[in-house]
């Protein structure tokens, strides 16, 4: 279980997250939604240990960062590095002795080609494959469905459900409510750096309605005029 208590994060005087209290249990999928800039990615980085913060994040078991697989929104791949070498790097990083990484290639990626030449969706699939090979206990997935095709979208949803079955902790963000409906057990609405509401499966529509912002009205006409 991950227990986040009174988490606050600021960049100088700018407060990004304020008094976040959340509990993520094993075998549950938690979704975090919010407008752009609400603080979702910052919260994920704090959980992963990539950002310092005030407050506490407690995890029962190992050191959290060493058993966490984090899929960032913006992926970075080194130039002149093949997909196979990327997976090898992730295995080495966790001291996993995977003999044949080709058998772990669930998305049928061209592992002998440079990862930098992959399409957006293929890059996401490669990163996700890396997290799965690492046999993590916690999965933080920031926009896992961004840029992937319909078939891969279905596979990712299947993976998330499988992780749930395997009693992993999954925390994810998405702007697509249909995917959240199918994958998540709990949904948390992050607005202006705080958790505005948390609901269980079946009540996600409440947050969806809450999130529907005002239209841009005449602004577009004025801009294009």
């Amino acid at each position: 279980m991950i227990n986040i208590q009174s988490l606050c994060k600021s960049y100088g005087k700018h407060k990004v997250l304020y008094n976040i209290n959340l509990i993520f249990k094993k075998g549950e999928v938690n979704g975090i939604v919010g407008e752009n800039g609400a603080g979702k990615s910052t919260l994920f980085k704090c959980m992963a240990g990539l950002e310092s913060f005030e407050g506490s994040i407690a995890y029962t078991g190992n050191i959290l960062k060493n058993v966490t697989g984090y899929l960032p929104t913006e992926l970075f791949f080194f130039s002149k590095m093949t997909g196979y070498e990327y997976l090898q790097l992730l295995c080495n990083a966790r001291d996993i002795k995977e003999k044949n990484l080709y058998t772990s290639n669930i998305f049928d990626l061209p592992l002998n080609e440079y990862a930098e030449n992959y399409s957006t969706g293929m890059k996401k699939k490669l990163a996700l494959t890396g997290l799965l090979i690492q046999k993590n206990e916690v999965f933080i997935l920031d926009e896992p469905f961004n840029g992937v095709d319909i078939h891969s979208n279905i596979i990712i949803q299947e993976i998330i459900l499988k992780l749930k079955e395997l009693k992993k902790i999954v925390v994810m963000s998405s702007h697509i409510f249909s995917t959240l409906n199918q994958s998540c057990d709990h949904l948390h609405y992050l607005k202006d750096g705080t958790i505005k509401s948390s609901v269980i499966k079946g009540e996600f529509e409440l947050i969806e309605n809450e999130m529907k912002g005002s239209s841009i009205g005449n602004k577009l006409v004025e801009l294009m005029d």
């Binding site: 990539l50 060493n66 130039s79 002149k80 090898q88 990083a93």
Partner: protein
């Protein structure tokens, strides 16, 4: 279009400020160092004008990187894009052309100028579908990437060494050998994004030790054939060759740990100066390496547990 070059100027100023240098002094000093270094290399190395031309071409080719060219093509009209590329290439080539002209190598200056114009239409630098096989795939990433980026330099160094061995020029052979280890050191020149450090389930000490072992092992793979050849051809100089080998491996170690001494930022200017002193005066490395190791573990503590 003027706005584009104004923006590049501002970016340059910001980069120098980030390095902790007064930008205007930095520009003047860079120009001075370029002139002095060029002069010194022309004085010391025979036929340096050809190497100088090659350096100029490598510098000009940097403007042909595929990502930035796609961006420029996307936002500018065809004519303005070509004007920008033309001005960029001429700006990058001009310092080299001026020096070559000043040194009296008129033909070389003209060839360099023509080259900079010819490569105007080559804007695919950095993206290749062809995968160069790397013998270092078991322990990515510095050596596998470095090998693919600089394989041409390794071939060149090996070729120069073989020529030096055949003509019995020990100094040239040992210079090439040191260059080889400096190329290995350069594989560690750029700090990776935090994510690639964070993924490791190791504490900073274990992380650094693994990096150092990999660097030593792969440097040995690359340099061992040359070392054996050198000893074979110049058995009387075996002590010098072994001393240079030891020194070269210390350079590589320095490269590994210096990368993280100011992490996640790139190595600071003062650290670069200290490294330069260490390269010129190797005994200083005995102080510098433990110091950088300590700094690196402190910096990595934020990301590794």
């Amino acid at each position: 279009m003027a706005g584009y070059f104004r923006l590049q100027y501002h970016r340059l100023i910001r980069t120098l400020k980030d390095l902790g240098i007064n930008p205007y002094l930095g520009i003047v000093f860079s120009a001075l160092i370029f002139i002095l270094l060029s002069n010194e290399l022309f004085r010391r190395i025979s036929y340096f004008q050809y190497i100088y031309q090659l350096i100029a071409l490598i510098v000009v080719l940097q403007a042909g990187k595929v990502g930035r060219n796609e961006f420029l093509k996307n936002i500018y009209t065809v004519i303005n894009y070509q004007k920008i590329r033309l001005l960029e290439n001429l700006t990058l080539a001009s310092p080299f052309v001026i020096v070559l002209f000043y040194k009296g190598f008129y033909l070389c200056a003209l060839v360099t100028l023509c080259f900079s114009l010819l490569v105007l239409w080559y804007n695919k630098v950095g993206r290749s579908v062809f995968v160069i096989p790397s013998p270092f795939f078991r322990r990515p990433f510095e050596f596998s990437i470095g090998f693919r980026k600089y394989y041409w330099a390794l071939i060149l160094i090996y070729a120069v060494t073989l020529i030096a061995l055949l003509v019995g020029n020990f100094n040239l052979a040992i210079f090439a050998y040191v260059s080889l280890l400096l190329v290995c050191m350069s594989f560690y020149a750029t700090a990776e994004p935090v994510y690639y450090v964070w993924i490791h389930a190791q504490n900073p000490n274990v992380f650094l030790k693994e990096k150092m072992i990999t660097a030593m092992l792969y440097s040995l793979y690359i340099s061992l054939p040359l070392c054996v050849l050198l000893i074979g051809f110049f058995p009387l100089h075996v002590l010098i060759i072994l001393s240079v080998t030891l020194c070269g491996f210390f350079y590589v170690l320095l490269g590994v740990i210096a990368k993280y001494a100011n992490y996640p930022n790139q190595t600071s200017l003062i650290q670069i100066i200290a490294m330069a002193i260490g390269l010129v005066f190797p005994p200083f490395l005995l102080l510098l390496i433990p110091y950088f190791y300590k700094k690196s573990t402190q910096k990595l503590n934020a990301y590794l547990k």
